[in-house]
């Protein structure tokens, strides 16, 4: 699997993501700066990692969504490419219109940094095939704006089409609509989620709960 991690100014979890991808695939992902206009040839997976792109100023992800590289990411996604957006990456995917809805300020107005429990709502995708539907796992969260919002019709459509990937299973700390922690695009190839499975892929980090995300992708995208 050839992964490309997009680095925006203010991105700060690109190193975590690279460690996790390297651990599972044995291959270092390419780091692609936001001013680039093309993805490396042969890219199988684009990752928009966590952080505070452009300082989260104006709105989380708003300025990053207009970066030069995003035209290439959009084209890659439209062509059926796999895109993973975590935390700020999820916010950017929403601002870019690659996923519906938006991430609002946490309902309690505080930054939330703790482990949460996620339930897998959609198994069998390139991102979730190594979990059973209904499985729960621990994932660290670290965000100030993770309160997923979309209008009722959109939420109904997401649920109806099975595009809710993960829900908070222990507590809804950020106020997200219908406890939504992660959603998929209609072709199931774009995933955005708020928590950070990449920070729980090694016993030294306190567990390997996040590993199935990476092993799923490695299996699905090998040789694609």
């Amino acid at each position: 699997m050839n992964a490309a991690i997009i680095v925006f100014p203010g991105t700060n979890r690109e190193r975590d993501m690279a460690l996790a991808l390297t651990r599972v695939t044995g291959r270092k992902p390419a780091m692609v700066f936001h001013r680039e206009t093309a993805l490396p040839a042969g890219t199988d997976l684009v990752v928009l990692p966590g952080g505070f792109s452009h300082g989260d100023y104006l709105r989380c992800g708003a300025m990053a969504a207009l970066s030069p590289i995003m035209a290439a990411v959009r084209e890659f996604a439209m062509g059926g490419g796999h895109v993973l957006g975590v935390c700020n990456g999820f916010q950017i995917l929403c601002e870019a219109g690659l996923l519906p809805g938006v991430l609002l300020r946490n309902a309690g107005l505080r930054f939330l940094s703790m482990d949460c429990v996620l339930r897998v709502e959609r198994a069998g995708t390139a991102f979730t095939s190594h979990w059973q539907k209904g499985a729960t796992f621990r994932a660290p969260m670290a965000h100030g704006d993770g309160n997923y919002f979309a209008d009722e019709a959109t939420l109904d459509r997401l649920e109806g089409e099975g595009l809710v990937a993960f829900r908070y299973a222990d507590a809804n700390r950020n106020g997200a609509a219908r406890d939504i922690a992660g959603i998929l695009s209609p072709n199931l190839r774009v995933l955005g989620l708020m928590p950070h499975p990449e920070d729980l892929v090694d016993p030294l980090m306190g567990g390997v709960d996040g590993l199935p995300l990476f092993t799923s992708m490695a299996e699905a995208l090998v040789g694609v």
């Binding site: 203010g10 700060n12 979890r13 190193r15 975590d16 930054f111 940094s113 670290a142 920070d199 980090m205």
Partner: protein
């Protein structure tokens, strides 16, 4: 500000082709009239004798900019004029020390060709005035001290002291400080992995925010501040300069009064996004050979960075302020030299490397400007709008800086504490203690700090006595802690100073790591009062003894004096930041109690209740001498524990500190939700004194079988005793047989801070 026509002088000594002023063939310096200068000097905090030295060095009246430079460079904050003679007595060397105090941060060798770079620094006064920005810029400043030296920051810690939990102002300050630390650290992408919090009325009007950053660099790629190479470009990078925080350094050296809450305009605003870009740009430039010297612009901004870089290098420096990137219009030379705008650095580049550096900084959307060059004059010369604004010889600016041996009086020893009867029994006291502000869960705070970003944190806050952060590309990890027990320091500053160092050493040891070095953040009251200066001197004495006994030298530090409000001083608080290393991160020991184990207490227990939390919280007294610190026992017990951990014989380990052994066991039990049953206390000691006494040099360990470790301890001459068993039953059975449900204990432990901060 200056209306009257002012005398001018020419400076024939100037010999700096390339400066705009020289093109006119003459440089003029506008001097302050003597009476006005004297008046301003006092206003800027220069004492009359200090001002006389300024006149002696210059041989004339200063210009406005010169007076500003002298006043900030000779402020307590920048010159350490009251503390320097004492700090010099601290041990600062060891075979693994690469750089001791005097640079932006200390540097130690941690093996595998790598170095840890670290320092702790206070931002106390700004955090009182505007808690969010004060704490945020404190984090930003200490990060810059570390990445300036070529190290990528991998962890932040914070030692915080707030006023009494029930004081009306405390909630606002806690809220702002915690948000500020999180707001900056989370955004900049450096995990906040540890620290400590105390509450005491002595901090009501003067909270302490001591921020520590630890970074990793290649041991052969450390960057220093000493400028070199006459003619080399002096380069400004980072954010633009505004009128932020002018005279912040002198403010940090002045006592507060209640009216000072109006000092708001001098508070700087932090931009963690700009700092993140600055880190990335500096790391990228540092991978090239372009940099000769680099220094962050911290307190006293452009003044201290340019003076220190040139001074350390023994060269002169000429600056043209017209080239400084400015955020506001019409700034004077005085304002630019004293601005404390954040997220800025000053560098000296190798000849011809300006283009390489500029491209990197522009890639990261940061300002880049050549604002001067090094000279052979040994002077700092500052030009602005075609005029010479300052011309000061650098050597005497440093060598003639004031240095005080201020009068000291010894803190009187407190009389021994007599018998203190137990008013309530062990279980109720434990329940009350684990919920008191100084011992309650810090989860409300941690939950706002990103402790994991970077992907290398392996023991988060609350999981071990020191935070454990792995080092990418190696099996190694660092063990990091901050420690100080201010109430001990007030009662006996020498014992308190030693205890602070010993506790940092013990917390690192309890994880299995080898303690290597410390940074200190000395927070005290007004040094012009002999009793305060006496506290300082005694604390340094105690620290030095502990540093020597434990092979734990001081490699960096910071002093914050005048921590008083309306004449009321804070508790003497020599906060210690400790760094250790463990060769295999997998061996790092946590404190969570296993489901089944024998519990053994290492170290001697006399039942020392003087200055204990039990005495304060349960018996309502702050009395008696603090527990003595036996450094030989500390060393022997710690070395024994570390060896047992590294041999794989220990399942969990926790040091006995605030609250004593019963609190230590309760903390271990609450960390895992498992239970424990303790044996009756030994004969000859009161149960409450055994359970809550704060004797030092002790650890509680959970082991599979007590027999082996007891035998090993006996062989090593280390006191050890069976304490009880971990049994996984969700209940803590106290030595008197009283049982407390862990769920109930945990609920009490967790409820305090959220309740304090709610509504």
């Amino acid at each position: 500000m200056l209306h009257a026509p002012l005398p001018t002088m020419t400076n024939p000594a100037l010999d700096n082709p390339g400066n705009p002023a020289d093109k006119a063939g003459m440089s003029t310096l506008t001097l302050l009239p003597p009476d006005r200068a004297l008046q301003l000097a006092a206003q800027f905090g220069l004492k009359p004798d200090e001002y006389d030295r300024v006149l002696g060095i210059l041989g004339r009246s200063p210009s406005m900019t010169e007076l500003g430079i002298f006043s900030v460079m000779w402020s307590e904050h920048c010159s350490y004029k009251s503390s320097r003679i004492w700090l010099k007595t601290l041990p600062t060397s060891a075979p693994w020390v690469i750089q001791g105090p005097g640079e932006n941060a200390g540097v130690i060798d941690i093996g595998d060709g790598l170095a840890a770079v670290f320092k702790m620094e206070s931002h106390n006064h700004p955090s009182f005035i505007e808690p969010y920005q004060g704490a945020a810029t404190g984090v930003g400043g200490i990060l810059r001290d570390v990445f300036t030296m070529g190290a990528r920051p991998i962890a932040n810690l914070n030692a915080l002291r707030f006023g009494a939990a029930d004081h009306p102002g405390t909630r606002r300050i806690v809220d702002g400080v915690v948000r500020g630390i999180g707001g900056y650290g989370n955004c900049v992408g450096v995990p906040t992995v540890g620290g400590e919090v105390n509450f005491h009325p002595a901090y009501n009007g003067n909270p302490l925010v001591n921020a520590m950053t630890v970074g990793i660099a290649r041991a052969d790629r450390i960057f220093y501040a000493a400028a070199a190479g006459v003619g080399n470009s002096v380069v400004y990078v980072g954010s633009k300069t505004g009128r932020d925080g002018i005279h912040g350094a002198t403010m940090a050296s002045a006592e507060f009064s209640a009216e000072n809450e109006d000092k708001r305009p001098t508070v700087q605003i932090g931009d963690p996004y700009a700092e993140k870009l600055l880190i990335e740009a500096c790391m990228e430039l540092m991978a090239t050979e372009a940099i000769v010297a680099i220094q962050d612009m911290g307190a006293a901004g452009l003044t201290s960075s340019s003076v220190e870089m040139a001074g350390k290098g023994g060269v002169g420096i000429s600056l043209n302020l017209d080239a400084v990137p400015q955020r506001e219009t019409g700034m004077s030379a005085y304002e630019m030299m004293l601005s404390e705008s954040q997220e800025r650095m000053l560098m000296v580049l190798q000849p011809g490397q300006e283009g390489v550096a500029e491209a990197i900084f522009h890639k990261w959307d940061l300002d880049f400007a050549v604002i001067g060059h090094l000279t052979n004059t040994g002077r700092i010369e500052i030009f602005h709008n075609g005029a010479l604004e300052a011309d000061i010889p650098l050597a005497p600016l440093e060598s003639e800086a004031p240095l005080y041996r201020r009068p000291t009086t010894e803190t009187p020893k407190l009389p021994p504490l007599g018998e203190v009867p137990d008013p309530m029994g062990l279980a109720p006291a434990l329940q009350k203690l684990v919920a008191c502000p100084d011992l309650c869960s810090r989860r409300w705070i941690w939950d706002q700090y990103d402790a994991l970003v970077g992907g290398l944190t392996s023991k988060r806050p609350g999981q071990a006595d020191a935070a454990i952060v792995g080092i990418e590309g190696t099996a190694r990890a660092l063990a990091l802690t901050t420690d100080c027990t201010p109430r001990y320091c007030l009662a006996d500053p020498e014992a308190g100073g030693a205890q602070a160092v010993a506790e940092a050493w013990r917390n690192i040891t309890a994880t299995g790591a080898t303690p290597l070095a410390i940074t200190d953040n000395m927070n005290f009251g007004n040094p012009e009062k002999p009793e305060i200066m006496g506290q300082f001197a005694a604390a340094v004495r105690g620290m030095a003894a502990a540093c020597i006994a434990l092979d734990f030298p001081v490699v960096s530090g910071n002093v914050s004096l005048y921590n008083e409000t309306d004449g009321q001083a804070i508790l003497p608080t020599p906060a210690i930041g400790g760094v250790g290393v463990i060769a295999d991160a997998h061996l790092a020991m946590g404190l969570a109690m296993p489901a089944a184990a024998d519990l053994v207490l290492i170290g001697a227990t006399r039942g020392w209740l003087g200055q204990s939390l039990w005495l304060r919280e349960i018996a309502g007294q702050e009395a008696g001498p603090p527990p003595p610190v036996d450094l030989a026992a500390e060393r022997a017990n710690g070395d024994f524990i570390r060896a047992r951990i590294l041999a794989g014989e220990v399942l969990a380990c926790h040091d006995c500190a605030d609250g004593g052994v019963l609190v230590a066991v309760a903390e271990m039990a609450m960390a895992s939700g498992q239970g424990a049953a303790l044996l009756p206390v030994p004969a000859g000691i009161a149960p409450h004194a055994f359970c809550f006494g704060e004797d030092q040099a002790r650890y509680v360990v959970a082991v599979r079988d007590a027999v082996a470790i007891l035998a090993a301890a006996a062989a090593a001459g280390v006191p050890a005793a069976r304490l009880g068993v971990a049994n996984g039953q969700g209940v803590l059975v106290c030595p008197d047989g009283a049982a407390i449900s862990l769920a109930e204990l945990t609920a009490a432990h967790e409820a305090t801070l959220p309740a304090l901060m709610a509504g």
